[in-house]
Structures are given as structure tokens and as C-alpha cells.
């Protein structure tokens, strides 16, 4: 049970793609919207990077369950797990 619990609490990095055009009018700035979306699944998670040119979104560390929950929120396009690339 402890192992299962520990696995459930394990955090991974995810890249969260946001549909900026779907930002509710109640938010003045998209960063506030990103933060609010993130806080809806985790009180403690912080944004690692925010992205404005290559995508609209941010990267953060979440549990798998939190990532799944975030992906179901309105305005979220995708929550992609971090990938490791290697030099050629």
C-alpha cells in the first residue's frame, strides 16, 4: 500500500498546451488563467516555464492523476509528458 501510495504521489513534468482563444473573459491576463487552471488540480504545483511563441501553455510537475484531471479541464488542449531527447 505504501508503494502504491508513493507511486501515486510521484510527480512528473508535463507540458500543458492551452487553447488561448478559449480563455474566459474573467481573466485579465493569460498567465492568471494558466495559474488558475493549474491550481484547480494542485495547490502546490508551480509553473516551470510559460510558453508564448512555440505554444500557448506552460510546463509543470504533477502526479499522473493531476495531469489526467487537468487534461479534462476546459481550455486545455493537451497535457503531454516530458520526453527526453538525446544528442546524435
Amino acid at each position: 500500500a505504501a508503494v502504491v501510495k508513493s507511486k501515486e504521489q510521484q510527480r512528473w513534468t508535463y507540458i500543458v498546451h492551452m487553447a488561448k482563444s478559449e480563455m474566459p473573459a474573467s481573466f485579465e491576463h493569460h498567465l492568471h488563467w494558466y495559474d488558475s487552471s493549474l491550481k484547480s488540480v494542485s495547490d502546490s504545483a508551480e509553473m516551470i516555464y510559460t510558453y508564448d511563441n512555440v505554444i500557448h501553455g506552460f510546463s509543470t510537475r504533477l502526479t499522473a492523476k493531476q495531469a489526467q484531471l487537468l487534461e479534462s479541464q476546459p481550455g486545455i488542449l493537451s497535457v503531454l509528458p516530458e520526453l527526453k531527447y538525446e544528442l546524435h
Binding site: I15, I48, V54, S78, E82, K84, E86, L87, H88
Partner: protein
């Protein structure tokens, strides 16, 4: 690099190259392991002020300050938050939390793309000559995204974001990972955004060859670069006790072997491990190896580590034998002990001698650097191969460029082998990989960009592809070192780059961001997937029929139904292509050469006349099958338009599925 500028013809006809002022306005962003700013290749003598378009920065950190940048190395940033989030804080006793390159790879790639001219460059006297990047006057911006523990997608995406903001013109990425759909791949996503802003993105094809379907970075908005050899070698002969000699290669410099034959042992017979032949750490029995030359088989661990293992066990030297995976490809290394690498055939003969002779003996004779080696280029065995595993209708790689035994700048925080026990320090190192071919193309793209500042990334790539060559001067087809036989477009794409020809391609196949989004529609991407990829909304027209074959790509990959499949003996859809005249007015005529009588190729019209610059003309290609081949069969053809001065070539690959 030394030799590759000559091999590519950059030393001839300087009048054909772009003016230095326009070249020095081009900024190449290199995402890699950072930069060693003290490299002579970053000398900024003679360069004018930093381009006014530049918005970047020179960030400080461990052993790196803003004063490390100059008018050549104009930017340096590092991206470690994703890496540190996963693996914990960087141990600054092991790697620099700054743009400083502790590995060497990033310095090698950035100096290859745009290093300044350095006289008398060499590695232990090997490959001696004047080193220079492909675009000697272009500016370099280094974005460190790769660390001891790897390169993380959140950091790569952040670096691409900054490179775009900083206003680079070319992005060079000698890294890859996996074969995800484009909308899940951070490199493809970042490259899309860069492309949309007019930035040319070149990426390495990967080193997973010679297996098929082994490519990385296959998105059509990326220029995917495979690797070939150049006409230079570093011979080091294996001389056996039976009087026979076998050619090999080496970059060893140090204490010589005794001038006599030494006892020779096969690593597999000097180990208790089942994989003892591979000379893995701790597997050689010192009592069976000490004072001898040991033969190790290539594979699994690094080539230089095998040498280190042999040395630690007391061996005096090493012969490194290729296996079937590498065939006859010889990659030279700056081993820590006298060592040479031999091909599979020679390796097998040497092993036969080892097993047959009760007292085998051997020595190694080092011959230095030889140039003028023919045939060259040959496709490197390690270079990843098509077909494209994500979208088979897009032929990849796009081109090959020099990627074997390339000398370029290096970090002085690490020895030439990269091993922690290697305490030698060098300003230049010789290494191999598609990592090395990619920045060649990045630098050449910078030259084309300098000459044609208004060209899109697709037009620049088209110029590099349609002018690439697929045959040697004697007319024989380029060879694949892994088979010794003629290579195919799945190995070299459109061929080996010819930069001088690329500066004046005659016609180009242009593409816009919307063309690629139509391509995404053809892939049946959902609206969310398209928005993830492009960072903006794009609506596929429900009334329109999209096809991946509609993409105005400079090469063709035609997928046909194999024996027993639906569609035998049929006509596959027409391929329409539009070419833009970027030369003088003229008439181009088409020619087709094909190795398959089973596919009839018809081009309409057969001639295209242009009366003005930037005039566009379309043509269609119809492929009619007269029969089929078994599934997984391939055949190849070539389509060329020529006006007598320019030849605009496109490879055609047929795959029966």
C-alpha cells in the same frame, strides 16, 4: 572544420558566395550542450557590429559571464529548469549551470555551422589545416539544453521560444528522440513555430542506421540531415604475424608500440563474461590481456570505452572489429592506447587468424592523415534511414552532408574521447554522427539565406535538395557503406548537398505555414491537435478533400498496394507540384529515369516556360502501376527539370505496402 569546406566546393569561386555583409547579418541558433567561448573559432576579428535585429542575451552562470560573448558568439543562454525539476539541482562540480559547454558536442556543432577561420587546426596533428565553419561570418547564438542527464523537452521548447524571440534566422538541432506524432513532439512543435516566423530549422536524422524506419525529426517543416563520409581518412594498419596487413583507421597519438610483433588475443577468450568480446567495463581478465594487443568487437558500449577497458586490463593495444551492424564503416577515435578500427570483413579474417594460430601476433602501423579518398561521399552506416515512420508519403531524410570524422571546435573541460579518465585537452576534436552533418547544413542554409534574404525556409531547403547530387563524377551512384552497394533515396534523400549549386537552384518548391496546416488536415488531426502543433487555431475545410501528397515537397514518396492488396494495377492519385522561378527567364524540360518498369510515370506538361522572376508554374505527375511487388518492396526513380543551366532534381521512392 577542416577539409569539408573544400569537399563541398566552398573554397572555389568565392565570387559565387554571398557578400560578407549579408552573411554577417545571419544568426544561427544552436540548441546543444552549450559553448566553449574561448575556442579560436569564436574569434570575432573583422566582424562588424552585432545585427540590429538581434534581441538576445549572453547569460551568466558557472564560469560564464556576459563578457564571454563577442561579435561572433553573440548570444548564450541555458535552460535547466526542466532538467533540474526531474533530476534535482545541478551539481556544479560536475557540470556548469551556465551556457558553458562541459561536453564538447555543442562547441563542435556551433563551430561547424559558423566558426571563424582558424589556421593550423588539428587534433594531435591529424586532419591538420585551416578550420572554418560553413558560414564563417554568420553569428552564433548558443542555447544550452542538453546536460549530463540528457535533453528534456520542456527545456528544448523553452530554448526554441527564446531563439524565436531573439530573432535567430537558422536553428540547428543535433538531437532527437522517439518517433511521436508531430503534435506530441516538442522539436516538431517548436520547429513549426520557427518556420512560421521564417526561421530555417535543420535537425539531425539520427544514428540508428542502417535499419529502415529509423529516422528522427521527420516533420516536413524540418530539414532532416543524414550523414556521409568525406575524402579523408586516418589509416592505421593491422599487421599480423602471418605477414598479412589489413587497413583500419585511428586517431591515436602517444607512446608507440614496441617495434615488433606482440602477442594477440581475442577479448572473448580473455574474459569469463558471455559478452567478453565487447570489452565492457570489468570483463577482461588482466592475466590474459596484459602485454598483448586485444581484439574487441564493436557494439553496446562506446568505442573509446573499449580502449579504456583494454588499457586498464594491461593491454598494450587494441584492434576494434566491426560486426554486421556497422559493416565496413570505419569511424576513427582518439583512443587512450594504440588502437585501430577495422571493418567487418577484415575483422572476420583477423579473427580467423586469431583462432587458427596457436601463437598469434600483431602490431599496428599508424599512417596519419590521407586525403583524396575515393569513393566519397558514401552514406554512413549509422545514418538513420527512411521510410518515414510517421508519414510515409513524405520522403526523409532530405539530404546528407559530411558527418564522419569531422574536425571542429571542442570544450577544454573534457578530453577528446569524452571519458572522465581522459585528461588530455584539445582545442579541436574529430567525431562522427548526424550531429555533425546537421550543422553543416545549418551553415550552408545561412549562406543561402544571406544570398536570398527573402526566401522562406522551404525555398532554402528546396534549393539544398534539388541541387543535391546522387552520383559520383564518374556517373556511378553514391554508395552505402553498410552494404557496399548503391544507396537509395531512403538513405540519402535528395542526395549530398552541393552548396554552390544551391545558391542558384533555378526553381524552388515553396511552402507556407498554411500549406503545412493543410497537410495536418490531411493527416486527420483534430482541431485541438492542430492548435497544439501550430500554437494557433486553424479550421480544416469540411468540404475539401485533403491529401498528404498535395504538400509541395521537393521529393516524392509514393505508397503503392503490394501483391494481394486492393489497388493492384491501378493509377494512384496525381501529384501536383508548383515550382517558382528564382533564376532568369527560360524554359525547363522534364526528364524521368526509373529503375522500375512496373510504374509508368507521366509528367504534364513536359515543359515549363518562365518569363519573369518569382513566376509560378504547376505540373502534375501521374504514377500508373502495371503490376505490383510484394509488400515492403521498394523501387526508385528520379525526376529532373532542366533549362540547360540548372538541374532541378527530385527523387521518387516507391513503397509497396
Amino acid at each position: 572544420t577542416t577539409r569539408t569546406p573544400q569537399f563541398l566546393g566552398l573554397d572555389k569561386n568565392p565570387a559565387l558566395l554571398p557578400e560578407s555583409n549579408s552573411e554577417s547579418d545571419v544568426i544561427i541558433g544552436v540548441l546543444d550542450t552549450g559553448v566553449w567561448p574561448e575556442s579560436k573559432s569564436f574569434d570575432d576579428t573583422g566582424l562588424g557590429p552585432i545585427p540590429s535585429s538581434w534581441k538576445g542575451d549572453c547569460e551568466s552562470g558557472t564560469n560564464f559571464t556576459a563578457s564571454n560573448c563577442n561579435r561572433k558568439l553573440i548570444g548564450a543562454r541555458y535552460f535547466s529548469k526542466g532538467y533540474e525539476g526531474t533530476l534535482g539541482p545541478i551539481d556544479t562540480s560536475k557540470e556548469s549551470r551556465s551556457p558553458r559547454d562541459d561536453d564538447g558536442h555543442g562547441t563542435h556543432t556551433s563551430t561547424t555551422a559558423a566558426g571563424s577561420v582558424v589556421n593550423d587546426a588539428n587534433l594531435f596533428d591529424y586532419a591538420k589545416g585551416t578550420a572554418r565553419g560553413m558560414a564563417t561570418r554568420a553569428r552564433v547564438a548558443a542555447y544550452k539544453v542538453c546536460w549530463l542527464g540528457g535533453c528534456f523537452s520542456s527545456d528544448i521548447l523553452a530554448a526554441m521560444e527564446k531563439a524565436i524571440e531573439d530573432n535567430v534566422n537558422v536553428i540547428s538541432m543535433s538531437l532527437g528522440g522517439g518517433m511521436s506524432d508531430y503534435y506530441r513532439d516538442s522539436v516538431a512543435i517548436g520547429a513549426f513555430s520557427a518556420m512560421e516566423k521564417g526561421i530555417f530549422v535543420s535537425c539531425s536524422a539520427g544514428n540508428a542506421g542502417p535499419s529502415s524506419y529509423s529516422l528522427s525529426n521527420q516533420a516536413p517543416w524540418i530539414t532532416t540531415v543524414g550523414a556521409g563520409t568525406i575524402d579523408r581518412d586516418f589509416p592505421a594498419y593491422v599487421s599480423l604475424g602471418n605477414g598479412k596487413n589489413f587497413s583500419g583507421v585511428s586517431l591515436y597519438k602517444g607512446n608507440s608500440l614496441p617495434g615488433k610483433l606482440l602477442p594477440f588475443v581475442y577479448a572473448g577468450n580473455a574474459s569469463n563474461a558471455t559478452n567478453g568480446n565487447l570489452c565492457m567495463i570489468g570483463t577482461l581478465i588482466p592475466q590474459k590481456v596484459a602485454g598483448k594487443i586485444v581484439l574487441c568487437d564493436r557494439g553496446v558500449n562506446s568505442r573509446v570505452q573499449k580502449g579504456s577497458v583494454a588499457k586498464d586490463a594491461g593491454a598494450l593495444g587494441m584492434v576494434l572489429a566491426n560486426t554486421a551492424a556497422n559493416g565496413e564503416e570505419l569511424v576513427a577515435d582518439a583512443h587512450l592506447l594504440p588502437a585501430t578500427a577495422v571493418g567487418e570483413k577484415n575483422g572476420d579474417i583477423i579473427k580467423s587468424y586469431l583462432f587458427a594460430d596457436p601463437n598469434p601476433t600483431v602490431t599496428i602501423l599508424f599512417e596519419g592523415t590521407k586525403v583524396g579518398i575515393e569513393p566519397s561521399p558514401v552514406v554512413a552506416a549509422f545514418s538513420s534511414r527512411g521510410p518515414n515512420s510517421i508519414t510515409q508519403e513524405i520522403l526523409k531524410p532530405d539530404v546528407i552532408a559530411p558527418g564522419v570524422n569531422i574536425l571542429a571546435g571542442w570544450s577544454e573541460n573534457v578530453g577528446p574521447t569524452g571519458l572522465s579518465i581522459d585528461d588530455r585537452r584539445v582545442g579541436f576534436n574529430i567525431i562522427s554522427g548526424t550531429s555533425m552533418s546537421c550543422p553543416h547544413v545549418s551553415g550552408l542554409a545561412a549562406l543561402v539565406k544571406a544570398e536570398h534574404q527573402d526566401w522562406s525556409p522551404a525555398a532554402i531547403r528546396s534549393a539544398l535538395m534539388t541541387t543535391a547530387y546522387t552520383a559520383y563524377k564518374n556517373g556511378q551512384k553514391l554508395l552505402d557503406v553498410s552494404t557496399g552497394k548503391p544507396a537509395t533515396p531512403f538513405d540519402y534523400g535528395s542526395g549530398h548537398v552541393d552548396p554552390i549549386a544551391a545558391l542558384d537552384p533555378g526553381l524552388v518548391y515553396d511552402l507556407t505555414a498554411d500549406d503545412y496546416l493543410n497537410f495536418a488536415c490531411a493527416l486527420k488531426y483534430s482541431a485541438a491537435q492542430i492548435t497544439s502543433l501550430a500554437g494557433r487555431n486553424f479550421t480544416c475545410d469540411a468540404s475539401k478533400t485533403y491529401s498528404v501528397t498535395d504538400l509541395n515537397y521537393p521529393s516524392f514518396s509514393v505508397v503503392l498496394a503490394g501483391t494481394g492488396s486492393v489497388g493492384n494495377g491501378s493509377t494512384v492519385p496525381k501529384y501536383t507540384r508548383t515550382v517558382t522561378n528564382v533564376g532568369s527567364p527560360g524554359t525547363y524540360k522534364v526528364s524521368i529515369s526509373s529503375e522500375s518498369p512496373l510504374v509508368k510515370i507521366r509528367v504534364e506538361p513536359e515543359s515549363l516556360s518562365f518569363s519573369a522572376n518569382n513566376e509560378k508554374k504547376s505540373y502534375t505527375v501521374t504514377f500508373t502501376t502495371a503490376g505490383s511487388l510484394p509488400s515492403n518492396s521498394n523501387s526508385f526513380a528520379r525526376l529532373e527539370w532542366t533549362d540547360g543551366k540548372h538541374t532541378v532534381g527530385s527523387p521518387i521512392a516507391f513503397s509497396w505496402t
